[in-house]
Amino acid sequence: MKKYENQGSKDTRSGFGAGMTELGQKNENVVALCADLIGSLKFDDFKKNHPERFFQIGIAEANMIGIAAGLTIGGKIPFTGTFANFSTGRVYDQIRQSVAYSDKNVKICASHAGLTLGEDGATHQILEDIGLMKMLPGMTVINTCDYNQTKAATLALADHHGPAYLRFGRPVVPNFTPADEPFVIGKAIMLNEGTDVTIIATGHLVWEALQAAEELENQGISAEVINIHTIKPLDEEAILKSVAKTGCVVTAEEHNFLGGLGESVARTLSLNAPAPQEFVATNDTFGESGTPEQLMEKYGLNAKSIVEKAKKVIARK
């Protein structure tokens, strides 16, 4: 199996911050808005280098989304930043009317998504945001897997016209994708070719999927691993091509199975080529306090769980 090396663990949010720093220099129309979380979102450099293009909104996320929508009128490309929960659930109607329905070029950038936020607990651990955002007509939804990919996605979004949701996280995780890998919105990345089962993963679960594929290989099972960083629009062609070969699929995400990547994959398969599918996702539940590792273990979002689901789905073929 193809080997991926951890180039040095980093948090995905720092990839976002690095992307913003670069965008600040490259694109004078890019502006940044933050709701009292500059350090958490890694906005420090952008704010220092471009104070005239940085907007501290205070703890007022609804106002932030509206201001971002207004800034597009005048040709700006606003990137809003706060935690995923406050980026989506708290401001859903503002995003729906002022951004999505109004077709405004706003990039909603969300850190601390999912369980890996850790000890802060369920009030902050949104597991419904992908579903909320993908249901909005015209909204692009991206969930990146490591530092390099998050940086590349941030840069790509500035060149993409239209509302978009960029989801990343808090913890330090392996950084394994090539630093020079181009980020093409809506285009899946084939990480490992295999023949027995397709593992389709997004976000922090991509590294876990690679670990799972190694373990499966040790057990004589050939797993294909696809990184879906763009959940909407979904690369249906890549999914169908792979499942035509393997005949079954495991989807893996740090999100509720309701509304997540898995559901989008299931729809694609049921419309085109039905195949057995297992879901590595949270099971219609809130999270809780704990370390990221403890939570991913308890809620079944790790390599071990992917291996189990892979064997289960192969048996269903």
Partner: protein, 282 residues
């Protein structure tokens, strides 16, 4: 000046006819607040705002306006059409299937003159703040106007925006509150008494002025000139526009009953008789 006022009054009378006929034709829509703001929007578009020919979404080097209380779309559409943004004949499509004139305004259908969807209340002031700050970055000296309802101020997002506007010295923004004292369930006092709105804005450090005769063209001209003169001085400007819901149609005034109700055939005839055509019906 007298001739100019007379022309604007004539213009407003035609807008009133448009509102009544549009709402009647589909037996739905919001005539009360639309009629109450007719004079204001006519004066704003025909006298106050600097507008460039055609329509540029980004509004570079011109004043821009946002309607936050999107339910008064009939008056907005009529004024936009009669100000040249799109054909007056298109007013006949209001609220019909496949129309660009949706029940509440939207950019989704590409209707010239509309820069933001509105209808879900309380969002326009934030959007206007963003547009005003974009003008500052662009060194564009023109102004941003926004109209909100008074009942709409019950939405909490407004107070986030009001706090922000003064804290960030957004002094190229004029926010106009349609102070008609009515909302769907009754008077604003009965539904949720907002107390002294002027004192509240002043407590948030806005420069506030009142136009007590908000259905009087000359009073609006003078009041908005005053408002413009207060911009660029470090504070956002708030205009409390005292209007009469249903203004210009006697049986629609002094009540909240016509907030979202269309007139019958007889009521339409009566209302139109009170407002003879001036510019020609669509």
């Amino acid at each position: 000046m007298t001739q100019q006022i007379s022309n604007l009054e004539q213009f407003t009378q035609q807008v009133r006819r448009d509102i009544l006929r549009m709402v009647h034709a589909v037996n739905s829509g919001h005539p009360g607040g639309s009629l109450g703001c007719a004079e204001f929007l006519v004066v704003l578009y025909q006298h106050v705002m600097k507008r460039n020919p055609g329509f540029d979404m980004n509004g570079i080097n011109e004043d821009v306006f946002f309607l936050s209380n999107g339910h008064i779309s009939p008056v907005f559409y009529s004024v936009l059409a009669r100000s040249g943004y799109f054909s007056v004949s298109e007013l006949a499509t209001f609220r019909k299937l496949n129309s660009r004139l949706q029940g509440h305004p939207t950019t989704h259908e590409g209707l010239e003159g509309v820069r933001m969807a509105s209808g879900s209340l309380g969002q326009g002031l934030s959007v206007a703040l963003g547009a005003a700050q974009a003008k500052k970055i662009n060194n564009d000296p023109n102004l941003v106007f926004v109209l909100t309802g008074d009942g709409e101020l019950q939405e909490g997002q407004n107070w986030e925006a009001i706090m922000y506007g003064s804290a960030k010295n957004v002094d190229n923004l004029i926010a106009v509150v349609d102070l008609n004292g009515q909302q769907i369930d009754g008077s604003t006092k009965d539904v949720l008494n907002m107390g002294n709105v002027k004192a509240k804005f002043e407590a948030f450090d806005w420069d506030v002025l009142e136009i007590t005769e908000g259905n009087n063209v000359e009073a609006i001209i003078n009041g908005m000139a005053d408002a413009k003169s207060r911009t660029g001085k470090g504070k956002p400007v708030c205009v409390l526009l005292h209007t009469e819901m249903g203004n210009g149609v006697d049986f629609m005034m002094h009540t909240h009953a016509w907030h979202g109700k269309a007139p019958s055939n007889e009521q339409l005839e009566n209302a139109l008789n009170q407002n003879p055509a001036t510019l020609g019906d669509y």
